[in-house]
Amino acid sequence: MLRTILSRNLFLAVTAGMTVLTLWMVFIWAPTETEQGNIYRSLFFHVPLAWVSMVSIVGVAVASLAYIRFKDIRLDRLAVAMAETGVVCGALMLLTGMMWARPVWETWWTGEAKLTTALIMFFIYVAYLMFRSYHPAGAQRQRIAAVIAVIGAVDSLIIYVAADLWQRAHPPIILGPAGGKDGAIASQFGLTLLVAVIAFTLLYAFVASERYRIRSAEDDVVELRRLADASEGERS
């Protein structure tokens, strides 16, 4: 017990330290980009958020497949924890992306393949979480939710292919400082991005593990209530 608390606090301390380091690097250490100006700094949040969102999709799918195979409730909790954290990160990714795109591409949104895929995947995982909260609790809910997660992950590949084909048929109109070219990333930018990705991965892991713990406690409460009801029924 003491060891878990200690290791969790150590985890939290490391995550907090990395986050502070990231903030310092992003806002003070990294120089302003010559063409895009200060707005490019939002990429230091956008890219790590996109990364952890992608990790979520893969993680939820793997945990769900393993749940279908082994029927272990802990795998289901892991899938929920990652899906919920992933949806929040996905929403922030979409928002930071739009904030960056407005001045730099001169549009909030375009039909670019990665954008379309990210948006559709976001909706699939929102539906996954909605399903979980609407379906009566029990093994059937966990099984069906696992199937939805697997279908979503399989679909993500097809969506990307379709969005890519669509983009070639309708080239997105991208103007502004970064229109039509990929900016070269200098070493300072690269290092900041690397630190940001590590910090966000730690933060994601911390939040997801806390969610996992709460989920276990929720399951315990449901189980205790069921036992209490059962013994009440026996007495009366």
């Binding site: 559709i120 939805i148 969506i159």
Partner: protein
């Protein structure tokens, strides 16, 4: 052969029910035609832009109407608890899935056969080319397979009416894009080669989800 006759028996049951009360097909046709008519009123259509925006409106209407049809197709099973009876049948559950999906496919094909001429009339476009029939069959095939799985999933959920479209529409988004692009190729009189990739993609979508759905469907129902 035995498997095929089981699949057909289940689909035939649904067709017979449908033939008697005409709940699903009529509602799908009416809803889709209504969506088309509303868009004709809501969007300022010229002969030029009707060909560009028409395909998107057509498939939006078909997808939305399809969702209502799928809801109906499974609501009748859950309302009368006949789904439990179906589950008790001593046949493999992937065959039950294929039977239900075949029923949905036949309903939707019939509905599309009525919706397409109405679309051609309202939007003043020529659509009678083989690509149109190919994409129609591929799109309805994919809708039926994915839709049957999700309709079975959400049959016991609160707020089923919203849960089904929330699951169904994002997952079939690639198929919808393919259907719109191929239809636009037809209405804009492009060569079939320009849209061949989309036909291929739609076929790949159908193949992948046919396998995935047949494998996962039995897992959804075990109790």
């Amino acid at each position: 052969m035995a498997a095929l006759s089981i699949i057909w028996a289940i689909a035939r049951k649904d067709l017979l029910l449908e033939f008697r009360n005409r709940e699903v097909i009529l509602s799908v046709i009416a809803f889709a035609v209504l969506v088309l008519a509303i868009f004709v009123l809501a969007v300022d259509l010229t002969p030029q832009n009707a060909r560009v925006v028409g395909p998107g409106i057509l498939w939006t209407g078909v997808a939305f109407a399809g969702v209502t049809g799928l809801n109906r197709a499974f609501a009748s099973e859950t309302e009368r608890d006949t789904f439990e009876g179906l589950m008790l049948a001593p046949v493999s559950r992937d065959l039950i899935f294929l039977g239900k999906a075949l029923g949905v496919f036949l309903f939707m094909t019939f509905a599309l056969a009525v919706i397409l001429p109405v679309f051609a009339l309202l939007f003043n476009v020529v659509i009678f080319r083989w690509e149109m029939f190919a994409i129609g069959a591929l799109a309805i095939g994919g809708f039926s397979v994915v839709g049957t799985v999700f309709a079975a999933m959400s049959a016991r959920v609160r707020a089923r009416e919203i849960m089904l479209p929330m699951l169904f529409l994002p997952v079939v988004a690639p198929l919808l894009m393919a259907a719109v692009e191929v239809t636009a190729g037809v209405t804009l009189e492009r060569s079939w080669r320009d849209t061949a990739q989309w036909l291929g993609m739609a076929a790949a979508f159908d193949a992948v989800f046919f396998v995935v759905a047949t494998v996962v469907f039995p897992a959804l129902l075990e109790d």
